[in-house]
């Protein structure tokens, strides 16, 4: 069975440009997460979806970040405009909607903002 798929794997952009990341979760996983991981740190949650509903977006910087999961399957995370401090790895994860369900992670997108 395929794992969590993310694209692109790497992205280099100039500051103030827009960028988008795509994630396709494991089939049957209705919970999807976007995380930010800075170098030497653990993942930090940006947004969590239950199906197409964003149930926790308290740590998403809404002035420049947006996300969608229109059909409750794949999801897109967008940054517009990107800033130098946005350089990081963006991870997508998915899980079943069960208490204590383990999350399965994609390979991440490494973003570099110049």
């Amino acid at each position: 069975e395929a794992g969590v798929v993310q694209s692109p794997r790497y992205k280099i952009i100039e500051k103030k440009q827009p960028v988008a990341f795509w994630c396709n979760p494991i089939s049957g996983h209705n919970t999807l997460y976007w995380y930010l991981q800075n170098l030497g740190q653990g993942p930090e949650l940006l947004i969590r979806y239950e199906n197409e509903e964003a149930v926790d977006d308290s740590q998403l910087p809404k002035d420049r970040f947006s996300a969608e999961r229109l059909k409750g399957v794949d999801s897109t995370l967008k940054i517009q405009p990107a800033e130098l401090g946005d350089s990081a790895v963006y991870l997508c994860a998915s899980s079943l909607d069960l208490a204590g369900a383990e999350q399965f992670f994609g390979p991440g997108t490494r973003l570099t903002v110049l």
Partner: protein, 116 residues
């Protein structure tokens, strides 16, 4: 507050040595889950184990073992006879069932270097 602390930033051992990675957590949930993940240099986080707060039995899986102690709020991970392939960053994580259901709180990770 929900918090996970991994005090060891980096550990270096020689192959075949045993090594223990420490994890201490704080939670106000009575029912919660603890996890360990491995992040090799390739970058993808790999799930290793999950324990729930009602199961304090230690677990052994091959060279890996986990020691969960509620009394000290710790969930430590031991690798016996370490190998070079064990080199990675290891993350401990906590998720609750009452406050912020299923939200994961990760520690800052412990980088393990196993030298041949």
């Amino acid at each position: 507050a929900q918090k996970v602390t991994q005090a060891q930033t980096e550990i270096s051992v020689v192959e075949k040595e045993d090594v223990t990675l420490d994890c201490v957590y704080e939670t106000r949930d009575t029912t919660y889950y603890l996890f360990w993940y491995k992040q090799p240099p390739s970058g993808e986080l790999v799930f290793l184990i999950r324990r729930n707060s009602f199961d304090e039995q230690n677990e052994i899986s091959g060279r890996y073992s986990w020691n969960f102690q509620k009394s000290t709020s710790s969930f430590n991970f031991t690798i016996t006879a370490s190998q070079v392939v064990d080199s990675a960053v290891y993350f401990c994580a906590l998720s609750g069932t009452e406050y912020n259901f299923n939200k994961f709180y990760f520690g800052s990770g412990t980088k393990l270097n196993v030298k041949p």
